[in-house]
Every structure is written in structure tokens, then in C-alpha cells.
């Protein structure tokens, strides 16, 4: 595909967009709700096709994809979409004459990234809800999901299907990229480098929604009952294993947090040991149920390197322990402290003690600007306070262990509304 092809597709969806905007928002929400209901149904042919086709190019194992789709899609229903519209655009946004008129951009370009299907699905549907036709560039790692989503929309509503175009060109094809970025709203996810490069290419008049890569963590307080450690570890293992820890909602560190008034670290140290052992057992068990997928040499190299460095810290007298599979499929590193260290992903988790919630905030500060979600448990009555502190740090989602890979469709990713960030509101004062 070249720049001419991209221009043709863009022109085509622009033409279809005028018909899209003539529909009421209620009609659009209901139609796209039908699409979502299809994706929420494990037996739907689109979901089955994704399950069959995604593992090949992404390297994910089929059992993991099945579990990941269930966790991510089962609750993204028509009702959830309608609730999202109401909460994000206003209670009367589906009425004929809302108090605050909301309009859409003439066209939306989406630069897709990664290989996890849910963000792709939502990225393609959100502009259509608002009445903006969408042109999307596939991610190099996943050309399956965008095509299937576009197909599912066209099957439910052929006219709506003409409002979506999937394009694919080399990342070095600057001419095609320039054409794509001519859309009036541009959404993109990618590494900081990718985002910086895109920012330099977008014209100033465009609405721009760029999201760099993010990471998530878990914070487990020492009020967690001993009897609950195993269950919590199992839930965290699920959060780690789904999408092989490659998503921004995958925890990379579990902090074992002391909550005593004195700030003594003893309880945190004990909890760190117990969580590490329980996580190792849970990850080993999860491997048999939903094996980790294929890994590239660079990923395996990173895991081996971080294991070796942890072994050296242990040999140097630090309270560090590596618990790991023989191959690279899972790794738990019991750390001696909360210093920020590389996260090789692919089911590599660090468990680090922090003496207090204040120390937790200090540990998270260096990554605050990249923080997505925090799984929280074991803080007892202090839970609301801890959640507020984490929100103040920049976390856009705080949930229980085991729920990290199941965000509601209305999750304020990067702190923004899913629909409102792509909408144009009008305040009428007369």
C-alpha cells in the first residue's frame, strides 16, 4: 500500500462520514452495541476467528488468548457502551437535543500498536460512536484484529462498515504517514520515540491523542490475612500471565507494603518472602494451564540478564532471591528494596518490600508519569486513603488483584474519557 492508496481510503471514509453523521447518536450506539455484543460472545464467529488467527503472528499461546479475550471482552457489551456514552458525553447525549451539543471530527486516524486486541477494538469503535469515520494503520505485530473488527462492523451494518478503513504500510513510508495524519483527529499509541516522531508530523490544527507506553504495579499491604496470600498470588499471577505481561495493565512489580505506624520494615520483609514463594507457585501452575507464548531472543536475553544480575546482588549480600523456571517462561525476583529496575516482561515479576505507604509513594514517583493501573489489596480500612494517594500520583486505574486485565470499557485510559477526548463539545450560553 502506498500514499495514493491511503489517500483513496481516506477520501472514501470521508465521503461515508457524512451519512454516518446523519444518523442519531442513539442509532450509532445501538448498532455498535450489537457489534460489541458479538465480540463479548465467546462463540461468535468473529471471536472464534480472532482466537484462531491471533496466536500465529503474535506468538501468544491459544489458551492464553482465550483467557485474555474472556477477561477483556466478556463485559464489553451493548449496555456497557450505552452507559459509557451517558457517563462520558452527558446524561442526555442520546436525546434528540442534548443540553451540550457534542459533535465529532470529520475524520479520525488511528495509529495502532502492540498485539493486544481490546485497545484496537475500542480505538476503532469510539470515533464511530461520535460520528467520525476512522482510518487505522495496523500495528506490525497484529494485522489480524483490525481487519476482523472492521469485518464485524460491516457485517452488522454495511453503511457503518464503509466508514472504517484499515491501511498498512511500512513505518519508513513517510509519504503514506503524512496522508494518514491529514485526518482531523489523530490517535496513536506507541513508544516514547514513536510518539515523538508522530508529534513532529501532525499539523497543529489537529486534535491529537497520543499515548506513550505505560506500566502497572501491585501494592499489597501487610494487613492481608495469611490465609489470603495464596489466593492473592493466584490472582496476581493471572494479571501477569494474561497477554504475557506485555500490556500496559500488566503488573511489573509487586510491592509488599508495611502499614505499621512505626514504619518498621519487618512485616514488609515477611510479606515479600511469602508473596514471592506464592507467586512462584502460582506462575508455575499457570504455565501448565495457559503457557507463555513464543519469545524473541532479545526478550529471553533480557530475562537471563536480569536473573543473572539479581543472582549477583544476592551473592553480594543483598536479600535477593531468584525463583524461576528452568527455561525463561516465568521468573520471580525477590528484591531487597524498591529501586526501579528493568522489567523484561514475558512473565518476569519482581516482589519488593517497602516499609510504609509513604515509602511506596516514593518508590512509584520515578515511574509516576508512566503509571497506568495499580492492583491494591491488604490495606484494610486504609484502602480508600491509599487509593487516593495512588490516584494523586497519576494512576488512572486502581483495582483488585485479578481484575487488572478486565478494565471497564469506560476506563479513563491515561486519565481521559474514552469518547469525550475525541469529541467536540459546544457550550450554548444564550
Amino acid at each position: 500500500m502506498n500514499a495514493h492508496d491511503v489517500a483513496e481510503r481516506l477520501e472514501s471514509i470521508r465521503a461515508a462520514g457524512s451519512r454516518l453523521r446523519r444518523r442519531t447518536r442513539r442509532e450509532r450506539v445501538e448498532t455498535l452495541g450489537q457489534v460489541l455484543d458479538g465480540w463479548a460472545d465467546p462463540s461468535s464467529r468473529w471471536r472464534q476467528a480472532l482466537l484462531a488467527e491471533l496466536p500465529g503472528p503474535t506468538g501468544f499461546s491459544t489458551p492464553m488468548v482465550r483467557s485474555g479475550l474472556a477477561a477483556g471482552l466478556d463485559h464489553w457489551t451493548a449496555d456497557a457502551l450505552a452507559e459509557l456514552a451517558l457517563s462520558d458525553l452527558g446524561d442526555d447525549c442520546l436525546s434528540e437535543s442534548p443540553t451540550h451539543p457534542v459533535s465529532s471530527f470529520e475524520s479520525t486516524a488511528v495509529v495502532l500498536a502492540g498485539s493486544i486486541p481490546m485497545p484496537t477494538l475500542l480505538s476503532l469503535i469510539a470515533p464511530l460512536v461520535l460520528g467520525s469515520p476512522v482510518i487505522a494503520k495496523s500495528a506490525a505485530r497484529d494485522r489480524v484484529t483490525p481487519a476482523l473488527v472492521a469485518g464485524s462492523i460491516a457485517e452488522v451494518d454495511a453503511e457503518l462498515g464503509r466508514c472504517i478503513a484499515i491501511v498498512d504500510f511500512a513505518r519508513t513510508d513517510e509519504a503514506s504517514l503524512r496522508v494518514l495524519l491529514d485526518a482531523s483527529c489523530v490517535c496513536a499509541t506507541g513508544s516514547d520515540g514513536t510518539i515523538a516522531s508522530l508529534q513532529a508530523s501532525v499539523r497543529p490544527s489537529r486534535r491529537v491523542l497520543f499515548d506513550g507506553h505505560r506500566l502497572s504495579v501491585a501494592a499489597i499491604g501487610d494487613e492481608l490475612a495469611s490465609s489470603a496470600i495464596e489466593e492473592t498470588a493466584k490472582r496476581l499471577a493471572m494479571d501477569i500471565c494474561l497477554w504475557d505481561q506485555l500490556g500496559c495493565l500488566s503488573p511489573v512489580v509487586v510491592y509488599a507494603v508495611g502499614t505499621s505506624e512505626s514504619g518498621s520494615s519487618e512485616a514488609a520483609e515477611v510479606l515479600t518472602d511469602r508473596l514471592s514463594d506464592a507467586l512462584a507457585a502460582a506462575l508455575e501452575s499457570a504455565e501448565s494451564e495457559m503457557p507463555r507464548g513464543a519469545i524473541e531472543p532479545v526478550g529471553a536475553r533480557d530475562i537471563v540478564r536480569e536473573r543473572s544480575e539479581a543472582e549477583l546482588r544476592s551473592a553480594a549480600g543483598h536479600n535477593v532471591k531468584v525463583i524461576a523456571s528452568d527455561s525463561t517462561v516465568w521468573t520471580v525476583v525477590r528484591e531487597s528494596g524498591p529501586e526501579l529496575r528493568p522489567a523484561p516482561l514475558h512473565r518476569f515479576i519482581r516482589v519488593a518490600p517497602v516499609a510504609s505507604t509513604r515509602a511506596l509513594a516514593e518508590a512509584l514517583a520515578p515511574m509516576a508519569s508512566h503509571l497506568a493501573a495499580v492492583a491494591v489489596d491488604g490495606f484494610g480500612e486504609r484502602t480508600p486513603t491509599v487509593c487516593r494517594e495512588l490516584a494523586a500520583l497519576g494512576a488512572s486505574r486502581i483495582c483488585r488483584p485479578g481484575a487488572m486485565q478486565s478494565p471497564p470499557i469506560a476506563w479513563h485510559h491515561a486519565g481521559r474519557g474514552v469518547l469525550s477526548s475525541q469529541a467536540r463539545f459546544t457550550d450554548i450560553e444564550c
Binding site: S115, T194, V298, D302, R305, S308, L312, A343, P344
Partner: protein
């Protein structure tokens, strides 16, 4: 030299090998010295001893130098890995990095092995035609001198190379952090006019910098055919990256030195020896990295921990006898594959897309993940 007789004996045996004019890749000789070095370092570096104990690989229980536990280069940032008492430290080299990043440190109680190792390799792979001890060549170095950067192992290497192999007019062309473009240009123009070949040596990024400057001035120079370039290092912490093929193409365009006369050096602060592209030493053979007989490479499959089969990508591990004072077995963290009697380094494709949307940890920490 070390006051420890056992260490002195070991170093003498290694030095003897380094001083032999003809290289002999005797596997049995290397194996014996590697096992002896392992035994010495196991007994004199407590951290390394515990590391090896943890892996169950201790002297007398490893059959081959390939099984000797290798420490990752990152460990040099957090741990003082030396096989001699701290008070005997005479020099330290530090890895490059920003002022805020933690830098790795190599501690040395003697520079003898270090210096004895670097020269024969530099001569053999960058100046194979300098056969007699007194032969010299014009060398300009696009890096600061070791007087200015005593902690830089690269500057130290160039200082030694210039002293031993540099003809009159050789020298450093980076001072106070500034690439002295005018002075370089003068030397290049003189070289071209007099048809006297010149060798330009420096970091890959210094060449990018030089090419940018010369291109801005519209300068293109046809250096004499026997000229050469030796470049090393990556683009860690630099404002932009340039794929190696593009860099070589630009060097050809601006300086007139073709890829067949550009030698990439593979080395690092944590190693006493260096490896070089084979292009000048063995110009009719496939380009690959070669090193001296006293430093060997094994490519390890990270999934199994065993040696990769030929051609399979794995982690480059080096066993370097020149590292007798620190740790000889080093896990470089670079990926590579075996090629004939050498190896090639597999670099990260600039801008390669991630599989997920979780931030690459190295990106967050500002580390080089190449």
C-alpha cells in the same frame, strides 16, 4: 604486577601468549589457563565465589571454559568485582553514560595485561600490513585523549595505539568535548593531496557528527585507497541513531572510504581484550568478528543456557584471559551468532515495534537495550 605469586605466575603465562608474534589458537592451552583463571578468581573474589556456588559450577566441576559462570556487565554497576584487595587498585575504567546514570567500573591492579592484549589485536585487524615492530601509520582519533578522560578505556586504548603505532602527525581530535572539525579537515585534505593514507578511529557517533559537519560545508573528500576507518560503540544516549549500513554509506560518500576498509571494533569497558571485523585481516572472507587467542566467545541460547548451534542467535559471552584481575567470564548482554571461526553481533533494529504497550523497562530507565 601482583604481589600474589599464584597470580603473578598466571599473568606471566598469559603475557607470554600475548607476546608471541604468531597467534596460535591452541584450545588446550586456553582451556588450561581459563580453568586456572577461574580457580583463582573463585578463590579471590567472594561475590563471584557465591555466584558460582549458587549455580553449582565451581572449579574442578566444570569440564570446559564454556561452562564457567559468566557475570553480566550490569553487575559492574552495583558490585565491585575484583580478584585482588581493594588497596591494590591502580586504575579504574568506567562505562560511558549520562551524569545521572549509574556507571559500571572495572578495577585493575595492573595495566600490563590490558595493554599487552590490546596492541596485537589492534595491529592485526586494523593495520595488518604493519609487519615490523617499527612500522607506523598516520592515525587521527575522533575521541578525547586519556589525559582528558582517564576513566575511559577507549581513550586509553587509543593512547596506547597512538604511542606504539602512530606516525608523526597522529593525535586526538576531540578536546573539551568538542570535535575539532577544522583540524580534522586539514588533516584529511593533506592526506588526500599527498596521497598519504590515513586511519580515522573513533566512536560511531563521532563519525556521524563529523559527516554532518562536513556535509553542511558541502565537503566531500576522496581519501587515498589505503586509508581506513575504525569505528566502535553504539549510539547510547546520543541524539540520533544511524543504522550501520547507512553510516558506512555516508563514510564512503563523504570520506571516500569503502565498507571493505571500515573495521568495527567490538569491545567494552568490562573486557581487557577487543574483537574486530575481519575485513582488513581476511578481505576475501565473510565479514565477522575475530579476536586474539586469549579471548574466546561462546554464543549461549538464553532459553536453555547451553551453547547455541552455529548460526542460531544467542547471548554473546566472552572469556577473556586479560581480565585476570576482575572476572574473566562476561555475559555481554549483546545478541550474536557464530560465523565460521568468529561471530557477528546482532543489533536491535532502530524503531522496531514492541509487541505490547507496556513500556520497555530499559526505555524507562534510560538504558541501552540494543
Amino acid at each position: 604486577m601482583s604481589a600474589d605469586p599464584a597470580r603473578s605466575e598466571l599473568d606471566d603465562a598469559i603475557l607470554d601468549w600475548m607476546r608471541e608474534p604468531d597467534w596460535d589458537y591452541d584450545e588446550a592451552r586456553f582451556e588450561a589457563l581459563a580453568q586456572e583463571t577461574f580457580r583463582y578468581q573463585y578463590n579471590h573474589c567472594e561475590v563471584y565465589k557465591r555466584f558460582c556456588d549458587g549455580r553449582g559450577r565451581v572449579p574442578g566441576r566444570v569440564e570446559s571454559w564454556r561452562e564457567i559462570p559468566a557475570v553480566p556487565t550490569g553487575a559492574f554497576k552495583e558490585t565491585e568485582l575484583r580478584s585482588f584487595p581493594p588497596e591494590r587498585t591502580v586504575h579504574r575504567f568506567q562505562t560511558s553514560g549520562t551524569s545521572t546514570a549509574v556507571r559500571g567500573t572495572l578495577y585493575l591492579d595492573s595495566l600490563k595485561l590490558y595493554e599487552a592484549s590490546l596492541l596485537p589485536s589492534f595491529r592485526r585487524f586494523v593495520f595488518p600490513e604493519l609487519e615490523s615492530p617499527g612500522d607506523r601509520a598516520a592515525i587521527r582519533v575522533l575521541a578525547p585523549s586519556s589525559r582528558e578522560f582517564p576513566e575511559s578505556s577507549l581513550s586509553h586504548m587509543f593512547q596506547i595505539a597512538l604511542a606504539e603505532l602512530g606516525a608523526s602527525g597522529s593525535g586526538f581530535d576531540v578536546e573539551s568535548g568538542e570535535l575539532l572539525v577544522d583540524r580534522i579537515l586539514t588533516n584529511l585534505v593533506e592526506s588526500a593531496a599527498s596521497e598519504s593514507p590515513i586511519a580515522l578511529c573513533g566512536t560511531a557517533f563521532s563519525f556521524v557528527h563529523l559527516i554532518d559537519h562536513l556535509s553542511q560545508r558541502g565537503v566531500m573528500i576522496g581519501l587515498p585507497p589505503a586509508s581506513r576507518v575504525m569505528e566502535t560503540g553504539g549510539f547510547k544516549g546520543q541524539s540520533r541513531e544511524m543504522p550501520r549500513a547507512e553510516l558506512y554509506s555516508e563514510i564512503k560518500r563523504v570520506l571516500g572510504v569503502s565498507a571493505e576498509r571500515i573495521v568495527n571494533q567490538y569491545g567494552m569497558t568490562e573486557l581487557g581484550s577487543q574483537f574486530y571485523d575481519s575485513v582488513l585481516h581476511a578481505p576475501t572472507e565473510p565479514r565477522r568478528k575475530l579476536g586474539p587467542p586469549w579471548a574466546r566467545v561462546v554464543i549461549i541460547d538464553p532459553e536453555t543456557g547451553h551453547e547455541s548451534v552455529t548460526g542460531q542467535v544467542g547471548t554473546i559471552c566472552v572469556f577473556d584471559l586479560a581480565n585476570s584481575g576482575s572476572i574473566a567470564a562476561i555475559e555481554t548482554g549483546d545478541l550474536g551468532r557464530a560465523v565460521l571461526d568468529g561471530f557477528e553481533v546482532i543489533g536491535r533494529e532502530p524503531g522496531a515495534e514492541a509487541r505490547g504497550c507496556s513500556i520497555a523497562a530499559d526505555e524507562l530507565l534510560g538504558r541501552d537495550s540494543t
